[in-house]
């Protein structure tokens, strides 16, 4: 009832309120009035971050369907970081691209609410609502540059396939509800454990459909078709946002559902996810090598990273859970930084995301080239960056559970992926051609965002113990 505690939803409430205020501000904005709407968004996000930190170790729950355990709070903090960095990069690009600022930020904030709810929900029905909230926001953001055909096409493809995936997910929820009589993760877990239903075909069907739904959102291999098109067509900042935020939220819910209530069935689903993870890593890497558009290449790279995350999920041990959290943080910072650089180099007419556009970048924008190099090295998993520790952590989790094959595939595909990350670095530093249209001077805020991401990447890479401890503390409270 209404008297139950509100604590667990405070972070979401902050972001949602910020979204409502932004929307109202936009509604009452004068025709050419400028408003510091991005600032409002940041205030809301910082408030949510503060609330998340204050809720640490309190294990608050609200309404019986939302929890604020340390796991979800860690994911919240990652998502808030993603939100803040995205706002910082957007401050430059939305004006340049003629994107309606108020609506953009409002939809983004509501999308973050959905993402946070994905991590915090403990009921399949609420997870579905969160999934829809998040997805709807991202569909809109993908197509927000309406005058660009590519953007519209990307949004349309993403929407159609996403709607399909959502219905698969819902179908899976229906099967699980049909057998266990509940959508609550706890209840489902106890029913499955008590009645040893792992051979029950209805449950297997439900779990299979859930895997389809989640795998789509994570862009894991048989269900990855949408992501290169959507990532390429969306404005670069939005691509950064969706490749990190959506993935983090989906993985968080994936982990919660499969390692809490479906844990008793791990022998049933682990082989399936093993295959998906291996295929995702290999295909993301191999196809990524052949790309000529940087955005597309990073889209495939992001598919491959989804595979590494799933490897942690397959491992299913404590190291794996903590590794997933660490990986999410490292990947979010790195990928956002990389897409931030791409976004800042674009112009209104042209995205400048072709590989050749990066030739000689070091000559024209030395700082950006150096930043980009670090992000790419981190994506490839070089020390001393965050990507190295994250990958090492995930693979050690896989080995810890005896999945040597998966770890070997992962290491091999990271080695191959180095090829295409380094190709860009070589392009930027060793070639001379510089014929691309010069982008507008980069604002301080956007630069600060890039430097922040770089600081995060290096911090996680050089002094990872604090965050690793933090991640381990996050998983100790649940599961």
């Amino acid at each position: 009832m209404i008297s139950s505690s509100f604590d667990a939803i405070i972070p979401m409430l902050c972001v949602a309120l910020a979204g409502l205020v932004v929307l109202l501000a936009e509604a009452f904005r004068g025709r050419d009035e400028k408003m510091p709407i991005g600032g409002l968004a940041i205030i809301g996000l910082v408030g949510a971050g503060a609330a998340s930190i204050l809720l640490w170790n309190r294990n608050a729950t609200s309404f019986g369907v939302v929890t604020a355990d340390n796991f979800s709070l860690f994911v919240n903090l990652v998502l808030i970081g993603v939100g803040i960095l995205t706002v910082m990069f957007s401050s430059q690009t939305i004006e340049r691209d003629g994107i309606p600022a108020g609506e953009y930020y409002a939809v983004m904030l509501f999308g973050i609410v959905g993402m946070m709810l994905m991590g915090q929900a403990t009921d399949l029905l609420v997870i579905f609502l969160a999934l829809e909230t998040m997805s709807l926001a991202v569909y809109v953001l993908t197509g927000i540059r309406r005058e660009q055909q590519q953007s519209t096409e990307a949004a349309f493809k993403y929407f159609l396939l996403g709607a399909f995936a959502s219905s698969f997910f819902l179908y899976g929820v229906a099967f699980l509800y049909g057998v266990t009589g509940s959508t609550s993760l706890d209840r489902i877990g106890t029913v499955i454990a008590a009645q040893s239903m792992s051979g029950n075909p209805m449950i297997l069907l439900g779990v299979g459909l859930l895997i389809v739904g989640f795998a789509f959102k994570v862009a894991a291999v048989p269900f990855h078709m949408w992501s290169p098109d959507a990532y390429e067509g969306a404005p670069a900042v939005v691509t950064g946002f969706m490749s990190t935020g959506v993935k983090a939220a989906a993985v968080a819910a994936f982990v919660r559902v499969f390692l809490s209530s479906l844990e008793p069935m791990i022998t049933d689903w682990a082989p399936v996810l093993w295959l998906i993870a291996a295929a995702t890593m290999v295909l993301g890497t191999v196809v990524g090598v052949a790309q000529t558009s940087l955005k597309r290449m990073l889209a495939y790279s992001s598919i491959a990273h989804g595979g590494y995350l799933l490897a942690g999920l397959v491992a299913g041990n404590d190291v794996g859970k903590a590794a997933i959290l660490f990986y999410l943080a490292a990947y979010a910072l790195t990928n956002l930084g990389a897409f931030g650089v791409i976004a800042l180099l674009g112009t209104r007419e042209r995205a400048n995301d072709d590989l050749r556009d990066y030739a000689g970048l070091f000559k024209s924008h030395p700082a950006l080239a150096v930043l980009m190099t670090f992000f790419l090295l981190s994506l490839g998993g070089f020390p001393p960056t965050a990507g190295f520790i994250a990958k090492w952590y995930v693979f050690s989790a896989a080995i810890g559970s005896g999945y040597y094959g998966l770890a070997i595939i992962g290491v091999l595909s990271s080695v191959v992926s180095v090829f295409f990350y380094l190709r860009i670095v070589v392009m930027m530093f060793m070639t001379d051609r510089d014929a691309r249209p010069v982008p507008a001077p980069i604002t301080t805020v956007a630069y600060a965002g890039l430097v922040l991401s770089l600081a995060g990447v290096l911090y996680l890479g050089v002094l990872p113990t604090a965050v690793i401890d933090f991640a381990q503390a996050s998983i100790s409270t649940i599961f």
Partner: protein
């Protein structure tokens, strides 16, 4: 008996939607299909869902469909030509799609055949929430948070509709 009448209406309606050449006829057939579904909901003792099915699907969503048909206003011949030329109509794509659909149907049949002895599942544990007042009570107590989240969802849809469909300002 009634079940077969309604289910038949729904299935035939859907088949007509797919096979009609004129998109407006497709839309009308879809309404028939929705009415069949609504009848099924009545049989499942879910009157509220049945009524909502009529009001929202057969009402609002069909209006939307019709407007889209009018908005695009594809002449019939062009549409047929487009159909034939579409890559999804290549025999390979059709075969693979057909095989996957068949696979899904087989899986469902397998699962259903295996669970014959399982008993009612949900029905044993929960009394059906059949009256609308009872539904309201459950919705506003057990599912209150989900209910509030729905409003955010609708709000995003609203904003999204406005930015994606409104005329450009300049």
């Amino acid at each position: 008996m009634l079940f077969y009448a309604f289910a038949g209406a729904a299935v035939i309606g859907s088949l007509l939607v797919v096979t009609q050449k004129n998109p407006v006829y497709s839309v009308l057939a879809l309404i028939a299909s929705f009415f069949g579904l609504s009848g099924l909901y009545v049989l499942l003792e879910a009157p509220f869902v049945a009524v909502v099915q009529i009001i929202i699907y057969a009402g609002a969503i069909m209006v939307l469909f019709l407007f889209v048909v009018m908005l695009l206003n594809v002449p019939r011949e062009d549409a047929a030509e487009w159909d034939r030329a579409h890559p999804l109509y290549r025999p390979m794509a059709v075969r693979i799609g057909g095989a996957l659909a068949l696979l899904l149907a087989l899986e469902l049949a397998w699962a259903l055949s295996r669970t014959a002895g399982l008993g009612g599942g949900v029905a044993d544990q929960h009394p059906a929430v059949s009256s609308v007042a009872e539904l309201g009570r459950v919705l506003f107590t057990d599912y209150m948070f989900a209910f509030e989240v729905t409003s955010i969802l609708i709000l995003i849809a609203m904003v999204g509709a406005v930015i994606l469909a409104k005329k450009k300002e300049e």
